[in-house]
C-alpha cells in the first residue's frame, strides 16, 4: 500500500472516532456551531483527500454527507435525532470503505445509492420520507467479509497496515531499562562472538551469528522507541518569541521546520535549554525594531527559522535569524578587553575565529554594557551543553544581515563508534567524532616534536598543535616499553591538539555506560564500556583531557600591561637565534639596533648587574635565559636594542638567521619574557617579549 494512502487511513481513522463523539454531542446540544464546524471540516478533509487519491465511492458518500452538514452549518437544517442518525449511517459506510481499503488497498465494491438518496432527501425536503427503506449499515453489504478474510493471506503487508494508528504509552524508565538491558546483551554477544571467533569450526559459530544479528536488530528497534521528534524541545519557543516581541515592540515570526526529525530523547532533553537560549538571543538581540529594519531595507517582520534535518548519520539543527548579526569588530574588542586574546593574536585571526570567542567562558558578563553582550551571555554554556552530548556548534554571521548557528548532533548517545587505543599497556577508547586524524609516527617524525618549556608541540602542516602523552596525562604507572607510535589528532570546540598513544588497536561500536559518581569528578572520562573480552575500558573525553592538561589552544589569561607589547607581530623580518638552551627563539628585526659579539673578559659587573662598556656608555646585559652564563666562554652573542634613549643587550646562545615571513603566534605563552610560539622557517620558535627584558635591564640599572 502506498504511503500516502496509509497516512490518509491512519489520520482518518482518528478523525472518524472523533466524529462519532462529536455527532453524539451535537445531538445533545444542537445549537453548538463550533461542533458543527468541526464535524464539517473532518468530513470535508476526507472528501478532499479521497478525490486526490482517486477513491470515487468514498468521495461520493462523503460529498453527500458534507452537503448535508453544510446545510446544518448555515442553519437551514436542524440537528435532530433523525438527521444525526442518517449522518452517522454515512459515517458507518465511510468506515466500512476504510476497512476494505486497509485490507486490500482498493475500495470495496458496493452500492451506496440508497444512502445517497436518503441524504439527498434531507437536502431537498429538509426531512427524509422513506425511513423504511433507509439502508441499515449493519445489513448493508459494501464489503463482503468472506472476501476480506480470503484476501488476508494474499497480502503480506496486512499485519503492519491494519493497526495503522495503534500506539501505546510506555513509561520512560521502562524504555531506559530496556535500553540498558539491550546494551548488556550486546556486551554478552560481543563476548560470545570473540569466543566463537577463536575456534573457527565451533558448532556454536552459526547460532552465535544468528544471535548477533538478532541482538543488533533488537538494539536498533529499542533505540527507535526512544526517538523523539526534535520539535518536542521547541514547544516553549513560540510563546517566548511572542513575549519578547511584545515586550520590545518588535515584530517576529518564528518558523519551525523539520520538527519531526527524530533524536534520542536524552538528546532532545539536553537540547531544550540551549535552543531556548539561542532563540531568545536571536529574538532579543538579533532582530531589530521594525523602524530600524525598515531603514535597512528589510521587511518589518523579523524572521527566526529553526531548521532540523538529517545529514550523514547526524542531525543538524540550524537557528537562523535575519537580524543584526554579530559585529566582528565589537566581538574582537570585547575579547581583547576581557583578556581572552592578545591584540596581536586577534589581529591575525579570521572573522569566523573571532566570532567563536562568543562561546568562550567569560566572553560576556552580566555587567557588560556593549549591545552585543546579550549574545555572549551563556553561549559558553550552550556550547558545553551541546558538546557534552557529543554535538558540535558553529556560528556564522553577516553583519547587519543575520546570524546562523548550526548544531550538529549524533542520533543517539548510547552507542558511539570509537577508537580503541593502547597507552602504556592499558586500553582506552576515544569517541570517533572528536578524532580528526591519526598520524603514525616514524622515528624521523618523532624527532620533529618541538619542546617548549617541557610542552610538546607537533607541526601539522603549517599549524603548531600542542601534544600530550596520554600515559603521562593519566599518570599511568609502568614503563614505556612500547615504542610511541601514533598521534591522535583531536578537535574540541575550536581547538586542536594531539594525544600520543602507543598503538591503535581497533575501531568499535561501543555501548557507553556512565561512570559512577566517585569517578565523575576526575572529569576526563566520557564514560566507560565493556569490551568483548569482558574488560572495562575508560572512554576518554578529549576536550576535558585537553583542559585538564592545559594543552588547549587557549589564549593566555594574563593581560599585558606593557604598552610595548601591543606592537603587532606580523609580516616582519625576524631574527632567529639559539637560546643557548637548544631552542630556537626569534625577535622582530625592526626592534633590533645591532648585533654584537662581546668577549667575555669585557663584561664587568656593576652592583651585580652585567654591563659592558659600549660606545662611550654602559650597556646593561640581560641573559636570554638561565642557561646563558655570561662569565663563562670566550665571547657572547648580544642583541642590542634601543628603546628611546636607553640601550640594553640580550645575551643569547648564537645568532642563526634572518627570515622574512608572515608570523602568526600559534600559542600564546604565559611564561614571562615570551610572547608566544610561531612557526618560523618551518620550526617552532618562541618569540621574545622585548619589553620584558627591557624592564629587567632598567630594573638592574636602577638598583
Amino acid at each position: 500500500m502506498d504511503d500516502l494512502l496509509k497516512d490518509f487511513l491512519a489520520e482518518s481513522t482518528e478523525n472518524l472516532a472523533q466524529l462519532d463523539h462529536d455527532l453524539v454531542e451535537l445531538e445533545r446540544d444542537p445549537s453548538n456551531a463550533s461542533l458543527v464546524n468541526s464535524i464539517f471540516r473532518a468530513i470535508h478533509t476526507i472528501k478532499g483527500t479521497c478525490g486526490f487519491l482517486g477513491l470515487p465511492r468514498l468521495e461520493n458518500v462523503s460529498h453527500t454527507a458534507e452537503s448535508v452538514l453544510d446545510r446544518l452549518r448555515d442553519g437551514s437544517l436542524k440537528a435532530d435525532a433523525a438527521l444525526i442518525s442518517d449522518i452517522l449511517r454515512s459515517i458507518d459506510v465511510i468506515r466500512l470503505i476504510f476497512a476494505g481499503l486497509e485490507v486490500n488497498g482498493v475500495e470495496p465494491v458496493g452500492d451506496d445509492s440508497l444512502l445517497v438518496a436518503l441524504l439527498d432527501q434531507w437536502l431537498a425536503d429538509g426531512r427524509h420520507t422513506y425511513q423504511r427503506a433507509a439502508p441499515d449499515p449493519a445489513q448493508h453489504p459494501p464489503v463482503d467479509t468472506s472476501s476480506l478474510m480470503a484476501a488476508k493471506p494474499s497480502n503480506p503487508s496486512h499485519d503492519t497496515s491494519l493497526p495503522s494508528n495503534v500506539s501505546l504509552r510506555v513509561n520512560i524508565t521502562l524504555l531506559d531499562s530496556l535500553m540498558n538491558l539491550a546494551g548488556e546483551l550486546v556486551l554478552s554477544r560481543n563476548e560470545l562472538l570473540e569466543m566463537a571467533s577463536r575456534d573457527e569450526d565451533s558448532r556454536f559459530a552459526a547460532p552465535v551469528q544468528q544471535l548477533s544479528r538478532v541482538t543488533a536488530e533488537l538494539q536498533s528497534a529499542i533505540m527507535k522507541t526512544r526517538m523523539q521528534p526534535v520539535g518536542s524541545a521547541w514547544g516553549k519557543l513560540p510563546r517566548i518569541v511572542r513575549d519578547i516581541a511584545r515586550e520590545t515592540g518588535k515584530k517576529i515570526e518564528l518558523d519551525m521546520k523539520g520538527a519531526g526529525t527524530e533524536l534520542d530523547r536524552q538528546l532532545v532533553q539536553a537540547l531544550q535549554d540551549p535552543f531556548t537560549h539561542m532563540v531568545r538571543n536571536s529574538a532579543d538581540h538579533g532582530i531589530e525594531s521594525p523602524e530600524v529594519r525598515r531603514s535597512r531595507g528589510k521587511p518589518a517582520v523579523g524572521r527566526i527559522v529553526l531548521n532540523a534535518y538529517h545529514e550523514a548519520g547526524h542531525v543538524i539543527v540550524e537557528i537562523i535569524d535575519d537580524g543584526n548579526g554579530l559585529d566582528v569588530v565589537e566581538v574582537r574588542a570585547t575579547a581583547i578587553e576581557r583578556g581572552l586574546v592578545r591584540r596581536e593574536v586577534a589581529d591575525g585571526m579570521t572573522d569566523s575565529e573571532i566570532l567563536n570567542f562568543i562561546f568562550e567562558p567569560g566572553f560576556s558578563t552580566a555587567t557588560s554594557v556593549t549591545h552585543i553582550s546579550g549574545r555572549g551571555v551563556g553561549m559558553d554554556v550552550v556550547r558545553s551543553n551541546i558538546e557534552r552530548v557529543g554535538g558540535a556548534v558553529e556560528l556564522h554571521s553577516v553583519g547587519g544581515q543575520g546570524c546562523l548557528v548550526r548544531v550538529r548532533l549524533p542520533l543517539t548517545l548510547a552507542i558511539v563508534s570509537s577508537l580503541i587505543v593502547r597507552a602504556r599497556g592499558e586500553l582506552f577508547a576515544f569517541p570517533q567524532a572528536s578524532v580528526m586524524q591519526l598520524i603514525r609516527l616514524s622515528e624521523e617524525q618523532l624527532a620533529r616534536f618541538d619542546t617548549l618549556n617541557n610542552a610538546l608541540l607537533y607541526r601539522l602542516r603549517d599549524d603548531l598543535i600542542p601534544v600530550v602523552n596520554l600515559a603521562d596525562a593519566l599518570k599511568l604507572a609502568g614503563d614505556d616499553t612500547d615504542a610511541v607510535s601514533t598521534l591522535v589528532i583531536c578537535q574540541a570546540g575550536a581547538s586542536r591538539f594531539g594525544i600520543i598513544v602507543n598503538d591503535v588497536e581497533d575501531t568499535q561500536e561501543i555501548v557507553v555506560k556512565p561512570v559512577g559518581r566517585l569517578i565523575r569528578s576526575v572529569g576526563c572520562y566520557a564514560g566507560c564500556t565493556i569490551l568483548g573480552d569482558g574488560r572495562v575500558v575508560m572512554i576518554i573525553d578529549p576536550a576535558a583531557l585537553a583542559v585538564r592538561t592545559g594543552t588547549q589552544m587557549a589564549s593566555a589569561t594574563e593581560k599585558s600591561d606593557s604598552p610595548a607589547v601591543t606592537a603587532p607581530v606580523a609580516s616582519d623580518c625576524m631574527l632567529l637565534f639559539g637560546s643557548g638552551a637548544g631552542a630556537v627563539q626569534a625577535v622582530q628585526l625592526s626592534r633590533v639596533a645591532r648585533l654584537e659579539e662581546i668577549p667575555a673578559d669585557r663584561i664587568e659587573f656593576a652592583g651585580g648587574t652585567p654591563v659592558v662598556q659600549y660606545r662611550g656608555g654602559l650597556l646593561p646585559l640581560v641573559p636570554a635565559n638561565s642557561s646563558v652564563t655570561l662569565t663563562a666562554g670566550h665571547s657572547h652573542a648580544v642583541i642590542v636594542f634601543n628603546e628611546g634613549s636607553a640601550s640594553f643587550g640580550i645575551a643569547v646562545g648564537d645568532i642563526r638567521d634572518i627570515v622574512d615571513e608572515i608570523v602568526n603566534l600559534e600559542l600564546v605563552s604565559t611564561r614571562p619574557g615570551i610572547l608566544g610560539t610561531a612557526v618560523i622557517a618551518g620550526a617552532a620558535t618562541e618569540v621574545l617579549d622585548v619589553s620584558y627584558y627591557m624592564a629587567r635591564a632598567r630594573g638592574a640599572q636602577i638598583s
Binding site: R517, I519, V536
Partner: protein, 149 residues
C-alpha cells in the same frame, strides 16, 4: 526500653585487616569472589577501579586504603556489592562473615577518640564475643574519603 521493643536490624559482617565491620543487610546486593578490576587512572585514592559484574559497571572501593588499614599481601579478597544511590559499588574486603542481628540497644556510640575516617564512617560499635564490630554507614564509606584531611 527493653530489648524486645528495641528496633533490630541485620548487618552483613566483613573483615578488613583485623577489624570486623557490619553494614546494613538491606544495602548489600550480593557477595562475590575476586574479579578483574580495571584501574581508573586519576581516580581518588581508595577507588580501586571498575569491575564488570555480569555486564554492569561496579565501582570498586579498596577499604584497606580507605580505612588506612595496612594490607597483608597474598590474601584472597572478597567483594561486598552494595547498591547506593542507584549505583553499584564493590567493597573490597578480606573476609566476609555472617549476617548478624543487631538490636539498637546493644549498639554503643562510637568512641570519641576514633581518628579521621573511622569516626566519619562508624555509626556505632557492638560488643561481641569475637571482639568489637564496627557498624559502618555505607554512604559515608563511599563518599567521605575525598574530604579526608
Amino acid at each position: 526500653m527493653t530489648a524486645a521493643d528495641a528496633p533490630a536490624s541485620e548487618v552483613v559482617t566483613f573483615r578488613v585487616g583485623t577489624q570486623w565491620f557490619g553494614v546494613d543487610v538491606l544495602e548489600v546486593q550480593e557477595v562475590i569472589g575476586q574479579l578483574r578490576i580495571a584501574a581508573v587512572p586519576l581516580a581518588a585514592p581508595g577507588i580501586a577501579g571498575f569491575l564488570n559484574l555480569r555486564g554492569q559497571i561496579v565501582t570498586a572501593i579498596d577499604l584497606h586504603s580507605r580505612l588506612e588499614i595496612p594490607r597483608r599481601t597474598a590474601e584472597p579478597v572478597m567483594n561486598v556489592v552494595v547498591r547506593n544511590g542507584n549505583e553499584l559499588f564493590a567493597l573490597i574486603v578480606d573476609e566476609v562473615g555472617d549476617v548478624a542481628a543487631v538490636s539498637a540497644d546493644t549498639v554503643e556510640p562510637t568512641p570519641a577518640n576514633l581518628a579521621g575516617m573511622w569516626s566519619a564512617v562508624c555509626t556505632g560499635v557492638v560488643r561481641r564475643n569475637q571482639g568489637l564490630l564496627a557498624i559502618a554507614d555505607v554512604t559515608r564509606l563511599l563518599d567521605e574519603p575525598n574530604t579526608r584531611p
